[in-house]
Subunit: 318 residues, 2 copies
């Protein structure tokens, strides 16, 4: 196929680009390089089946033009800052909700009818059922990020029903692995580089969280596109386990050979809209024959290895 | 209190304005008069405790300025066309989702922290549980209208959690009564005025629907504001019954003394995104001590009486 990847220079996007090229697909990556990195596409850029289009997803005309001739849209461009919603509420509306609308309209304009979308377990707010299935009790939104991703899901579903689109909506836990440039492993390692003796933790460290390694995530996306019914397909994506923030700190500091003094901001939640317990029921994905290859611990350590080997990512995000 | 009513010249809005004034509140109605009618505010405009501000909700500065000094926002301004979403998908995004964002930002700007919002049973898509409770299995959106209202709910909930707002979210069935100027009673009566011998019906006439009389709706809003816990309060609002489209046609034609030839477009759904069965569990509202005074049949006949006595509403909406 000829795949179109919004946010194709980002963390998940650039890994997806490489995997698509590896299996023989043609790929157009569309990215404004605001948080994406050209470095992540170094291999892809040497491939004649790849093109990078620098553009903003909010620019509907440029988007439609770049999309023409493609068969499938992987819509990954987004504001992925879960924590800072209340500091700039318009950002989630603009970069998630309105951006997704522009992608869907560009698809109508250019005749592309298939879309895979990176949603989030954050749309479950603070769930009452664990592990949380896709048809959990209708949740109440607790973060602007979750609310904006839910709005995107609604749009995609309505386009599936109204315009005959096929949609694959993936509700991710936190994804990590190579090219990861935000999130707790990034933050903790960065601060330990500056001061190996002390580490400040948001919340009480007992928040229970789920993580998935990026190549397991991409395996799942490929499996779902091949095998899931789409009206649309809505699929949780995570491992069948969770860990405490303190567990992760232990793994990270252990691997680094450090014993920093830990201090905590306190409270069950690290920030406004933080969910103290994220643990998704991934039975639907499992039924499609997919299983993750790395455990949460392995994913975290693999991420740490990447960060240690690529200190330039810290300089670039100062 | 000093109430701020967006869409205050509309069907539900103008009835709410009158009721607020009746109980002694001060009221500012904010409306761009695109579908609202100055005629509906004739009584209100004679009341010194009332002010009408003509403005667009998308104009954030005008909105904030008009809202200043108010205590409570009733956000009713919306695109209420459920049927035509696929003809102009941007309309729901703009007039519902982005409009609601502007209202919330204007509230932050002007220091108002309480909001009541008119959501819809359409956000349940095609439910699997009847009567459908507020915590029904997480639904899949089937209409752009429902998707846009769900996005509004998410924003309001996130503002409650992030900014300490109090929110009352009402998931309405179809509301009808005096000043009703769209929907099936309006359409059917209008067409029977033009041709009393024939009536064409969208779908197979067997769609099961719920309706609520506008003053029962407003009673419920007042009861909820007084008594419901808000984190936010999410409340279904309808009667404990439903009827078939064919029942309603029987009541309408019976009251008019007509026996038109009925033809049907066929199918379980009247249009793309139409839900063949809407029946909400209103137990939460009932627990607050509220009960509707009119049955569905009484509400429909009351609406018909209004339309027969006010033929000018048809001329104005040609």
């Amino acid at each position: 196929m000829k795949a179109f990847v919004t946010g194709g220079a980002g963390f998940i996007g650039s890994n997806l680009v490489d995997r698509l090229l590896l299996r023989g697909d043609d790929v157009v990556a569309y990215d404004n390089l605001s948080t994406g990195r050209r470095e992540f596409l170094r291999e892809a850029l040497a491939n004649p089946r790849f093109a990078l289009v620098e553009g903003d997803v909010l620019d509907g005309d440029a988007l439609s033009a770049a999309m023409r001739g493609c068969d499938f849209v992987f819509h990954l461009a987004a504001n992925a800052d879960v924590r800072f919603g209340v500091e700039h509420p318009e950002k989630d509306l603009l970069q998630n909700t309105i951006t997704t609308f522009r992608v869907l309209e560009a698809m109508r304009e250019s005749g592309v009818k298939r879309i895979a979308f990176s949603s989030t377990g954050s749309i479950y707010g603070e769930p009452v059922v664990f592990p949380t299935p896709e048809d959990a009790p209708f949740p109440v939104q607790t973060s602007l990020y979750g609310a904006s991703k839910l709005a995107c899901e609604g749009l995609i579903s309505a386009y599936c029903n109204g315009f005959g689109f096929s949609g694959w909506i993936f509700r991710f836990v936190s994804i990590l692995g190579e090219r990861y440039t935000h999130g707790h492993v990034f933050d903790f390692y960065k601060r330990l580089r500056d001061d190996p003796q002390a580490l400040h933790v948001l919340g009480n460290g007992k928040q229970r969280k789920s993580y998935l390694y990026v190549h397991d995530c991409i395996d799942a996306i490929f499996a779902a596109i091949e095998r899931a019914e789409t009206k649309p397909a809505i699929l949780n994506l995570g491992t069948d386990e969770y860990c405490m923030v303190n567990d992760s700190i232990g793994w990270i500091t252990g691997a680094l050979g450090l014993t920093p003094r830990l201090t905590y901001s306190g409270g069950e939640r690290g920030w406004i809209g933080d969910s103290p317990f994220i643990f998704l029921d991934c039975g639907r994905m499992r039924q499609l024959g997919w299983a993750p290859k790395l455990s949460i611990q392995q994913g975290i350590l693999r991420t740490l290895d990447f960060l240690r080997a690529n200190p330039w990512v810290f300089d670039a995000t100062q």
